[in-house]
Symmetry: C2
């Protein structure tokens, strides 16, 4: 969920902390945790050859973490149920280590006992990567939430894996740094985000391997060219190779000003033209270039006040700049706006600096973008896909789906991060239907694979995409992934039933 | 060798192709290849348990690559000798595959026969990473020099591993893209650069494993979150795990204007102050912020005309911007310049836009920076170190060396890429002395390790740094590197005697 660097750039604007943000959450429309069916039953998963957790195990684990173990039924229900309230495991306990050494002791114990482990941050995974399927021991990073060091000159923020995005953004901003991670769910914790591979380039994690070995690749030095780049294997491994306990993040300087324009146009072809001119005019200043189609924006307009004043148009492009000189940035954005009009690429639009006396202008425009999925989910069930595709093939997929899909689907809405070739698809129906879901999986995976794209651009594989990911991957790569897994986690205790296809 | 994004940004300026660039080459001051001692003898290296290359092997290999095999004595001498003319192997042949399939066939043959292999690009490694030590078969990427695809909208350049930097820069520029790799030796080939790990974040390579398996991670999609990030293991593996045959590079838009300022100051403390204000004023516009000390600049002034007009000052900072609007960029640079004067951080300086009627102004200032090592090497032997260090510990190392070193060392010059915490040290002496070299290795490695830095920031381990790298690495990491090596290259045929410490 981002656009280029985007969303959290908003934090540069004065805004009271604690103000309610537009959460990307389906919770309003979905069921109570206790009614969520068990994943193992819904998907017919077979339990792996792990030991059963005994009450003695729980006592032993508690002793390793100074008693910080949760076994209360209601609390366990929350930890066992995923963010979207659609998957549910049956772990008997959550362990809360506070230090890397405690994580090491816990994993060593689980490894020796052959107990399966499910690492968990704020459990905001949208693909079921952070909830157990059976009785895996949940190891939470939540108590490792310290900002350890901020190096303003070097541009590095070193912090515990359990720090939330809000916390990190605040810590960075205090030192004039820009925390380069964006995700609309602000509770998300850094360890989980790095493990999910969302922003791979800037993170140097310290990781505990399944046998308790600590691998500290957490140099605060940006450049270290002395051997293989091992840390990178853990960035994006989704907890299946170890647990990230600390991260050193490279952070750029905080931009001083954010400006936003929303422009309207009548074809996706012109959307791409707008993107090209944006790059040419704004260059290094561009922090986001997001498109949304009519179905996406009108859904928000229907459900939230935040889209007031936005007319119904075929396509919308949200352009954001993040720079050091407001006057220059405004001028560049205005020049771009006029150039787009001259070239007849846009019908009209709203531009931040022109009525910038309204401090919530930027926020309001972004609200439209970030509320699309939530708005659609208020009107029923949403099948959500997040794919990478070459630009010229993106909207053809949307049109194909609208044309070919059965009557089950009420609406196909799309939006995307143009600078990253990343397309989000939201297909609305009255209810979830397994057959429709399978049909969509097949159609979209085939299309994306043929077009040279990726079936998961941002969200990872987790439980939901475990088969899709492998489907469009070179078998050589899947084999090598298995070998790495075997090397680092020989007993297969780390986050089983995820990432790898069924039967792997 | 870069500063932030730096050097090749110069290509944005109109400049005739083919103009001689300031090469970072020691060749003027060093010996003829035929007089370079054999590495195995100079360093007492023991040959690994590989098969001896027979004339039948050479015939078989030739058959696999359509006869493209070099066995001429003079040509072999060039391929066996390193860029700095200080290391020399005795390979009996160079193989020139043209395709990934040919590389696969060659490696499979060598693997089956247990023949050791030395991958080679333009052989511009400054740590002996690309020349054999014994009779390794040299597999050259030079003939895989096609630009395969340029996707301007997606910002991706896909090309063969043998493309040179000049070639790539030109191909990118033609499509309004900015090739994000910089290295002063322009012959350097992309495969070698990616293998050496110089710019890890933007490259997606296709790699041939030692047994001939092709691993194609070369998606042109920036975001692919479907499994482990395997490609990253090869980025920086220096040919010890496989051969990179193609690379998809993510390229930003081409900046339209480059401006440069050179400012003078009297302490390293103020150098850091200048860096802070540069970040605050120029932010996203900053493409380089380089410091040089008096010893470094005066060496260039003595040897090259290019430093005319530059006075003798204790410290110099070169600041470069790369943006879309010349007027804005100039204004920001002038404002910064005046703010630096107001705060008494600088003594004086030269600023690009103020006399920008001279089209070679930018080039001239950069020439000073890029000629430091070459200038020093004209006056004798140079011991060169390239380390990462926290800013506040950088110049203390320079001062320590000046104070403590024996009379052997004539001059300690330093310069660095401030935005990357990267310090280059050049220690000049009349002649190379093994004992002084060892003493320097120890002193610098100890200091850097204690300060939490990295002993090789840019250049890799290769042959020269194979022991230094391991010295300051966590043994857990070295062990894991060995396990990866064992997994991917069980017979150890790929680039032996490099990367790993002696006896590994």
């Amino acid at each position: 969920m981002r656009g280029g660097l985007t969303r959290q750039l908003l934090s540069c604007l004065a805004r009271p902390r604690g103000q309610v943000r537009p959460l990307y959450s389906f919770s309003e429309s979905t069921r109570a945790p206790a009614t969520v069916p068990f994943t193992k039953e819904l998907f017919g998963v077979k339990r792996g050859p792990y030991a059963e957790v005994t009450s003695d195990d729980i006592q032993q684990l508690a002793a390793l973490v100074d008693g910080r173990v949760e076994t209360d039924k209601d609390d366990l229900l929350m930890h066992n149920t995923d963010w979207l309230r659609s998957l549910r495991g049956c772990s008997p306990c959550v362990v809360f280590p506070k230090t890397t050494a405690e994580v090491s002791a816990v994993l060593k114990y689980c490894s020796d006992r052959r107990l399966a482990v499910c690492p968990q941050g704020a459990s905001t995974s949208l693909v079921g990567g952070s909830v157990p399927v059976f009785d895996e021991i949940i190891v939470s990073t939540a108590k490792m939430n310290e900002v350890i060091e901020v190096d303003t000159d070097g541009g590095t923020l070193t912090c515990g894996a359990g720090c939330s995005l809000d916390h990190l953004e605040h810590a960075a901003k205090n030192q004039h740094l820009f925390f380069p991670v964006d995700y609309t769910i602000r509770e998300a914790q850094l360890g989980g985000i790095v493990a999910a591979g969302l922003w791979p380039d800037r993170a140097r994690p310290a990781t505990v391997l399944p046998d308790g070995t600590v691998l500290d690749s957490m140099s605060t030095m940006r450049k270290d060219n002395t051997g293989f780049d091992l840390k990178q294997i853990f960035v994006g491994s989704e907890g299946s190779l170890g647990i990230i306990t600390k991260v050193a993040m490279a952070c750029p300087s905080l931009p001083k000003h954010i400006n936003v324009a929303m422009v309207y146009t009548d074809s996706f072809h012109k959307v791409l033209g707008i993107m090209r001119m944006t790059k040419a005019h704004l260059g290094e200043l561009t922090s986001a270039c997001e498109f949304m189609d009519n179905e996406a924006v009108m859904s928000v307009k229907k459900k939230y006040l935040s889209a007031w004043g936005v007319p119904s148009k075929p396509f919308y492009v949200l352009i954001e700049t993040a720079g050091q000189c407001d006057m220059h940035d405004e001028e560049k954005l205005k020049t771009l706006f006029n150039a787009l009009k001259d070239k007849e690429l846009i019908l009209d639009g709203q531009i931040g600096p022109l009525n910038y006396d309204d401090p919530t202008f930027v926020e309001r425009l972004w609200n439209i973008n970030t509320r699309i999925l939530a708005a659609l989910s208020r009107g029923g069930n949403v099948y959500h896909y997040d794919v990478s595709l070459p630009h010229d093939k993106q909207y053809k997929l949307v049109e194909k789906l609208r044309k070919e899909l059965s009557g089950e689907i009420l609406k196909v809405a799309s939006f995307g991060h143009l600078l990253d070739s990343n397309l989000h698809l939201a297909l609305q129906s009255h209810n979830f239907d397994p057959e429709t879901s399978d049909e969509l999986d097949r159609t979209i995976t085939d299309y994306v694979t043929r077009a040279g794209g990726a079936v998961s651009a941002e969200l990872g594989c987790g439980f939901r995409n475990r088969n899709l990911g492998a489907h469009c991957k070179d078998p050589v790569e899947v084999k090598l992934m298995r070998q790495m897994k075997q090397l680092l986690d020989p007993h297969g205790i780390m986050n089983p039933y995820k990432v790898f296809p069924d039967g792997a």
